[in-house]
Each structure stands twice: as C-alpha cells, then as structure tokens.
C-alpha cells in the first residue's frame, strides 16, 4: 500500500484544520507506448504521473487542492490550501457510507514495464511491416500500450482502499486507398494483466483482419442516406449505450437538470427487451471495486425491462437526489475532482441467437470496428456515431460492404425501437482510450450483445 500512511495522516490533519469530512487520494500512473508508423518508430514513450489530492468539506464549503510532490510538507500545504479555498457552496451534504477497506491488484505474471524495450519494438515493427506490404495499403500505424494505474483513497472516517490495475494491448490503424478513395480502419485489443497476455494472443490474425477490412472498405461505396432496420454489433451498441444513455444516467447531470432522463425514474424509457447494467467487475471490462470517494462500487440495474430504475451517483449527488450511493464517483488523476462516471455499462444479454436477429432483415448490419466514436447531447439525448465498415442486408443475408455509415437520433426514441437482444454479451476495455467528460478521461468497459433495432437514421452519401 504505497503512501497509505501519508494519506491517512493528511486526512487527519484536514480534520484538525476544520474539515468535517476529508478524502485524500494518491494517484500514480505509468504508461508506455511503442508506436510504429509505416515502418518508422514514431514514438517510444514512457510517461509517469503521481500526486496527492485533498478534498475537504468544511462548515464553510467544499475545497480541493493537489500537489505533484509526494512528501509530508507538500501534502500538508495541500491540506491547508484545500481548507482555505473551500468556498460557500451549494449544499454539499454527503450520503452516509460505512468505512471500508478494499484491495485489488491485477494478476500479473510478467511485469510488462520491465520487458526489454527491444522485444517490444520488434513485435510492433513486425506487425506493422506485414500490414504495410499488403496491396492497397497507404499507411499503417501499430501501437503497443502498457499501463499501470495505482489509486489509494483514505477518508477521515478510517476508510483506506487501494487498487493497482495493469493493462496491455495493441492498436492497429490502416489507411487503404483505392482509386483516390481513402478509408481508415482502426481496432485495438487490450487485456488486464501482464506481458504474458501479449505473448499468448495471436496478433498476426488480429492485424491481418484489420488490414483486410480496410482494403475492402476502400473499394466500397457509402450507404444511401435513409432510415433502416438494423442489427447492431457488440462494439457499436456498446458505444451508443455508453454515450447516449450512460452519460444521461449519471446523477450529476440529472441533478443539474442536464439529462434527458431527469425526472423519469420509474418511467418506461425503452422497449421491454432492454435491461441496462453498470457493474464494476465484468469479464473483459475495467475493474472498479471502489470509487475515488472510497465508496464500494455496487452492481446497478439502471434500466429493468424498459423501466428506468436507478441513476449512477456520488455521495453528494446521492444525497441531493435522495438516492443510494452506487460507487460511481471517479477522477482521472490527482488534479481532478471526481465526477459521476460509468464503469462497465452495457445492455444485459437477451434470448436471441445471432441468426434469429437477422431473420428477414432488409436493412443494414452496423458494426463498430473501425468506427469513429460518437458524441451526444445528454440534455436532449441527441447522438451521432460513426460505424465502421458495415453491410447492407437483404432478406437476412449480408449483400454488400459499405463504408462511412453514420447513425444519428435521439436515445429514448432509439431504445423504444429495440426489437430483440442477442445472447452474445461481450465487454471490452482499452489501454488506449476511455470515456471523456469535462476534460477527464477514465478507463471503462464498452460492449453488449448484438441488438436488432427498427428505423435507425443512417447517414452516408
């Protein structure tokens, strides 16, 4: 438990300076990237970040201060500054929680940060070179990512919890060109664990698949713009649900009146096929057993068979909305204050086999791989997402690959059109990215099962 004594001491000091409640966090991250860009070693970087945050609640208000120097003098100064900067704030009353001690460490057989740099470079270079030699490929970027993230939270009430999560993964991005048409397809695969996860995975098959799809997509046309019945795959449905529903379910947006879900608890907001869960521990996802307020993360059924049941909360949001804490206050680093964030947010699997979802479909099979992400206006539920290379479908059979499909709509309308949910739940986390909110990026798990949706607005040409 790195810095546990320091954090506990600072929490007590904050109490003696007038804090009614105090949370002290130590955050330490190491991140290594090896990136080969069309044969050239573009980046081999190593980034560290460590610091301490003191968040206090005083009779006067709420304040937060941080320091990147992890010694007693700097920590003491941060505690003083936090108490001093506390300003009269809107009600900061906190939901009561029990003091708890939670510890978690990823199982790591071979420390990925200690592996010989030459071995890492060679692996990435080889994958990059093979892809670059494929006909029709204009450029290729292959990146290896390694991250170790350590968080310790100490509270004035005696809570001390810590976790150390190690992720490894490879991302592969291919730009293919056919007759002047460029198409970029990117995908990544990450694992929680050590270098043994890299050694045991078939990376050649993974990069070959990305390359092949990029080349084929560059030869494809864009789908005609219009409204389609659709089957949406695990990756894309995960992005849509996370961005368009998950953010709206974050209690801080609800409390601000900035969510399309405000005031809708107990109401039917989706078709009965739809159950949505936020869970801190899911196969393939990112492990969050406690949040940055030291609150134990619990499994939350946000939507139960179409009915909105819960919002995600922090202690202050739970108190202000009169709800239970869910353990979703997350901060991206020591300079950040926790916001209400998702962990692994997904549609629960349904009863349908994949072939049943495609039965009699005249429409489109929308896929996430190679897609460009999405954006949402949580207040209205408006969303837009780029799908990856996808397929037009006739009478249940895929007939043509199309590129550049974009879906757009309003989330509650979209969820009401879900006709069937598949059994094939798949959730993935990533060492290369995460969820952004107010400038903070945290790791999450994205995914879900395949779903069939009627009347999806698809943009193309």
């Amino acid at each position: 438990m790195l810095y546990a004594d320091l954090a506990e001491r600072v929490a007590k000091l904050a109490g003696s300076l007038g804090a009614v409640d105090a949370v002290v966090r130590v955050h330490r991250t190491e991140h290594e990237l090896v990136s080969v860009d069309s044969g050239y070693l573009r980046e081999h970087s190593y980034t560290t970040s460590s610091g301490l945050t003191v968040e206090v609640y005083t009779e006067k208000g709420r304040g937060l201060a941080y320091t990147s120097t992890l010694d007693w003098d700097s920590a003491r100064e941060a505690a003083r500054l936090a108490v001093e900067s506390a300003l009269p704030a809107r009600s900061w009353a906190l939901a009561e929680v029990e003091p708890r001690r939670v510890e978690y460490r990823s199982v790591v057989v071979e420390d990925p940060l200690a592996v010989d740099p030459e071995e890492k470079i060679e692996l990435v270079r080889d994958l990059n070179r093979e892809s670059l030699e494929t006909q029709g490929v204009a450029s290729v970027t292959t990146t290896l990512g390694v991250e170790r993230d350590y968080v310790l939270v100490a509270r004035l009430d005696g809570t001390v919890s810590w976790r150390e999560v190690t992720l490894v993964g490879i991302a592969h991005s291919v730009v293919a060109k056919t007759a002047g048409v460029a198409e970029k397809v990117r995908d990544s695969k990450s694992f929680e664990g050590g270098w043994e996860k890299i050694r045991s995975f078939d990376w050649r098959s993974f990069t070959s698949e990305v390359t092949e799809i990029a080349v084929k997509a560059s030869q494809a046309r864009m789908p005609p713009t219009g409204v389609y019945d659709a089957v949406i795959d695990n990756d894309l449905v995960g992005t849509v649900i996370h961005e368009a529903l998950g953010h709206a379910a974050e209690g801080d947006l609800v409390a601000a009146g900035a969510s399309v879900l405000s005031g809708k608890l107990g109401e039917k907001i989706a078709s009965e096929q739809v159950t949505v869960i936020d869970d801190g521990m899911v196969d393939g996802g990112y492990p969050v057993l406690f949040d940055e307020e030291g609150v134990v993360k619990r499994r939350v059924v946000v939507v139960d068979r179409g009915v909105l049941r819960e919002y995600l909360t922090s202690r202050s949001v739970a108190r202000s909305l009169g709800l239970k804490t869910t353990g979703n206050a997350r901060a991206s680093g020591f300079t950040s204050s926790p916001l209400v964030r998702q962990t692994n947010f997904y549609i629960a699997p349904g009863d349908y086999r994949l072939e049943e979802l495609f039965e009699d479909l005249d429409g489109i099979y929308l896929r996430g791989m190679g897609g460009g992400g999405g954006e949402v206006d949580s207040a209205t539920g408006a969303f837009t997402f780029y799908a990856g290379p996808s397929y037009l479908v006739k009478r249940g059979e895929v007939v043509e690959l199309v590129r550049g499909a974009l879906i757009s709509g309003r989330i509650l309308d979209f969820l009401s059109r879900v006709k069937a949910v598949g059994r094939d739940l798949r959730v993935r986390t990533s060492v290369f990215g995460g969820c952004g909110k107010e400038g903070q990026v945290v790791r999450v798990g994205l995914g879900g099962p395949h779903v069939r949706v009627e009347g999806v607005m698809v943009g193309g040409r």
């Binding site: 990237l33 980046e43 970087s45 709420r62 900035a258 954006e375 974009l406």
Partner: protein, 450 residues
Amino acid sequence: MVASLVELSEVAIKRAEAMGALEAEVYAVYARERSMRLLRGSIELSKAGVVVSLATRVSCGRGVSVVGGVVSGVRDVETLVERALSMCKARGDSSAPRALPRGLSSSKPRGIYDEAIVSSSSETMAGILEKLVVDVESASRGRVEVARGSISSRVVARLVANTQREVVAEESTWLTLVCMGVARDAGLESAFWEESTVRRLSDLHVERLAARLADRSLAGLRRTKVETGVLRVLLAPKVSASILDALLAPSISALAIQKKRSPLAGRLGERVLDERVTVLDDATVEAALGSRGFDDEGVESRRTIVVEKGVFKTPLYDTWTASIEGVESTGNAVRPKISSMPEPAPLNLILEPGSEPLESLIGDVKRGLVVYSVIGEWLSDYTRGYLSATITNADYIENGEVKGAVVSGMVSGDFYEMLGSKLLAVGRELEGAGVIYAPPLLIDEVRVVA
C-alpha cells in the same frame, strides 16, 4: 516559476551528458490552476493546485527517444533521463531523426500574460460566475437556468533547453468560462453550451456570453421541422471553426501529407478551395489562444500562409518533418502529451474573414438553415475529407426570416466541395473554437437529413 524549471532542466541535461547522450533536449512545464464548478446557479467546488511536468528527448546515435511525466523532484528527473537513454539504445531505427533542433529562439507575442489573471483570487472568480448567473437570468427574464458551468485560470511557464546550453522560456495565462443554459417551456427542453477562453481578464465579456446563451437556449424551444433534402446552410463562426478543426487542421500537417493520409497530399500549388478562402497559421497574434513565443521544441513562432486564395501553399512543419523535405520548420511542433514526440499542428489557424456580416448573410437565405451548434463534427474522418455532423441548435430560414428552430438532424457533404464550388460567401465575424478561428460560411446545396 521559470527559475525552478531552469534548475530541473540543468539536472536533466547534466545527467544525459553523464550517461553518454549525444544530444539532449528538455521541455518543462509549470502549471498553476485555480477553478470552480457551478451547478444549477451555485458554486459546487473550488479547486487549486500546481503540477510540474518535464519531458526529455535524447539522441544516442541510434535514433531519438522521448520520455516525460509529472515530476516531484530531482530524483524523478534523473529517472526519466535514465529511461530515455535505455529506450534510445533499444531503437536501431535507420530512418529516425538523428539531430535535435538547434538555434532556439522566441518571438514576443503581445497579450499572452496577464497579471490580472495571475492575481485573481477565489473571490474574483466566484464573482464572475455569480455575474454570469445574474446576466443570464436578466437576459432571459428568468426563463433560462445556468445548469452547469465552470471557470478556470491557468498560469503556465514553459521552457525548452538543450545540450547546446540554449534556453527559451515564457509565462502565459488563460482564463476559461464555460456554461450550459437550459430553457424549459410546456414540456419542451432546450440546452445550449457557450464557452469563452481569453488570455487577458479584460477580454472576458460575461454579458455578451450570457446574452447569447439565453438567446440560443430560448430559440431551441421554438421548434420546427425540416424535410430531408438539399438546403442552403449558413454556419455560425464557431461551427465553421469546429469543422475546420476536424477536417482541415489535421490535413495540413506535413506528417499527414508525408504519410499520405491527407487528401492534400500531392496537391501543393493547386487550387483546393474557393478563391475567397485564405487560411493562415499565426502564433504571434496578440492575445490569441494559441499565441506563444516558441513551439514545443523551441522554434520561434511565426506567420505561415497555408492556403492563399484557395491555393495550397504549404503544410505546417516541425523540425523533423521539415528536415525530410529539406525545408525550414514553420514553428508548429506540438506535443500531444508531455511524453510524445512533437508533431506539426496548428497554433492559431485562421480563415481570413470577408466583409459581409452574419445578419446580412441570413438575408441571402431563401430556404435554409443557420447552424449555431453541432455535435460529432470531430468524428469526421479527415482522410476522406467528408463532413458529417449532428445539428443541436439551428434556425430554419425562409426568405431571410427565422421560421423556427431545428434541434436535430444531420448535415453532411464533401468538405472540399463545401469550401470550394458550393461556397457562396465568407462572412465577417471571426470567432474561435479552441485555436481555430473562422468567420460565418454560407454554403449552397448541403445535404440535410431530418
């Protein structure tokens, strides 16, 4: 602040030399932040702190490597240098850059450092937020609530130093006010975001921001529907800027061109946009958001004309991409994160304004949209040069008159056509989205999906 960075940089350079580096460069940043968050009109959190970050780039004869991170003292700096050397020796990359930039120098842009921001207290910042809430209430007659918002000040010192004992350093300030207005009426809800970032406190105009927030939040309640089809579209300045950010900014990077990812690859000297379009990058503009004396590898900032009257004149270069083509860096090296190798990117990209004001351009719209905000435009893939964006706030116009608001739908089209053969006018009001500045753009025959 600069003195502490000089001290750390000397530690790094001496350590690199002692370990056998042929050359070493240090990039260091000292950032002091103070911020406040607003929830439903009241301050929710006050925050303050200091972070010192340092990156070192070393050359060891087998290429160049860079490491970086937040540092808490001399020991951290030495560890980073040691790691950089060990990574450098692992490279064996014949195409890697062998030499680091030399001849560091700095221009002296005006208005990038403001004592009023440096000395602004918690009370000053709380006062600005309170004024915002009052002004929005007044401008909307109580019909718009400031649901969320924040104010933050940043005082930053940057330094680049190298083994030639060259040093450039400067101090800068920023202040950002962000807010979201929500208007509600008869079961309808409309939201609008506004943001203003300034380098000098005196450039912050809270009343103006509040008036626009109130106006556009309320406008979103007067909804109308448009049919899917082809319409004339007038992009408000910030929307124009965000579209340029998504599609033009990455395409003019020499790296994207050399790697054949940019649609502008091989088109130097050709007309790529309408002749009314001139785009330049200028990090010396007084008080602009990206203005600075030197880029992230210590090359002096300058003014570069990228597109002149529609003709593509030059990409933006850092030292490495410039050396590949045997030209000079344009001083556009940017580090996406502290430990990244620098790469070319705009510092202040400006599409030069025309003469006609926005209001007058609206009069030229017989049937179309004035788009005030979009989401998802940044998802557009610059390698394809194709725009897709979701409308979140627009006015529907008939014969120059507003007929109602459009709060969903999609605009799409080929970016180079939109700013080429379909461009009808370049407006007058210049506004920024981050470091990209653009005026209103009136475009014909844009595909709109309702």
